[in-house]
Symmetry: C2
Subunit: 216 residues, 2 copies
């Protein structure tokens, strides 16, 4: 279980040279957000306090909190995509349902203590334009990868799929929306939620297949 952060090389407090890096601030920001805190309500001073540096040192790494937020969103998106990608490979190598495994992995990440998914789930609604565009960008990446996977999946089963772009968009948005509500519920209900989400996705996919054979 390695860290998600890109270069976790030296976390021992080097005497002076780097001392503080962008990653440290990102980690500090992650520690501050939670079920009740969104990034846009976290202050610059709080982050530096958490990171143990002076407020002014923040400006050596980011212009303002928005820039940090965007870096954090990018990180969260990259992390999630690789994790889900691995889950898809794992599912196809075994014979388990891709949908099921992906949803399970998603929920697992939801409960992971790195809180990276929280960023994508919460920060899409509020904040500056650049802020929301960053979230939207990550979601669209997610959509793209899902779309090619759906096409591949349909081809493997010798079925066709109606409007795969629309299907992947619907699935992505629905999963993220359901994830947002799951985050506010006790983890005991996760299996139930996983079952619900899986069924929803199955509805969408079978519906898309049917609509393809008999277009309106």
């Amino acid at each position: 279980m390695t860290s998600i952060i890109l270069t976790p090389s030296s976390d021992l407090p080097l005497p002076r040279k780097p001392a503080i890096a962008r990653e440290d601030l990102i980690i500090a920001a992650l520690k501050l957000i939670g079920p009740h805190r969104s990034l846009s309500t976290v202050s610059l001073r709080e982050v530096t306090r958490e990171a143990g540096i002076s407020p002014n040192s923040f400006y050596r790494q980011f212009r303002d909190m928005d820039e940090l937020a965007i870096a954090l969103i990018d990180l969260a998106g990259r992390s999630l995509r690789t994790i889900i990608g691995q889950a898809r490979e794992r599912a196809t190598s075994t014979d388990r349902s891709v949908i099921r495994v992906s949803v399970e992995t998603f929920m697992e990440q939801l409960r992971a203590d790195d809180k990276l998914l929280h960023v994508l789930l919460r920060e899409g609604a509020v904040g500056s334009d650049a802020f929301k565009q960053a979230v939207e960008r990550e979601l669209s990446y997610f959509e793209d990868e899902l779309r090619v996977d759906l096409i591949r999946l349909a081809a493997a089963e010798r079925a066709r799929l109606h409007e795969p772009a629309l299907v992947s968009k619907a699935i992505t948005r629905l999963v993220f929306a359901m994830g947002a509500v799951a985050m506010d519920q006790p983890p005991e209900r996760d299996p139930e939620l996983i079952e619900q989400i899986s069924q929803m996705l199955r509805m969408i996919i079978t519906g898309a297949r049917v609509l393809d054979t008999s277009p309106s």
Copy 2:
């Protein structure tokens, strides 16, 4: 086009007796939120400034901003439900698609200048527990009404529906999620979005019907 607010009776400045009411504060709060502002970033002082009263007078109406937010969420939920309910009746009286008309009405409300829908779309992600529970409650009301309507619709077409509760939940969450992204896009793209959402819902519903005839 009457106002949504409950008792818009007298807005001329009465000499002393009522002078300021809860509604005035709610209206002031609505004026302050927008694409970039969420309720949780609006301060108590801002609301009173917008309403033209002293900060302390706020406490005569609400204990704190959270209480105002909850009142606002309730108002938004009630308003949306009645509007969508009317749209459903309008659709069944004519012979237009219920899905289509409902989605169109939803997007129309999204662009309405009362900004009531914004509250439900944005404030579900952040804020206190009571805050999010209020949004969740309104969404579940919405789900309930949609569920009975789906059952009625299926019965009218002599079809059965697999897990109507799940279908209505999926539709509700998907529509609200898509509405949130639509809000950040120029209104010119609304027709395109309406088409997309309608197709998504059609996928879900036909998928649910197919899954009912051949349960896994």
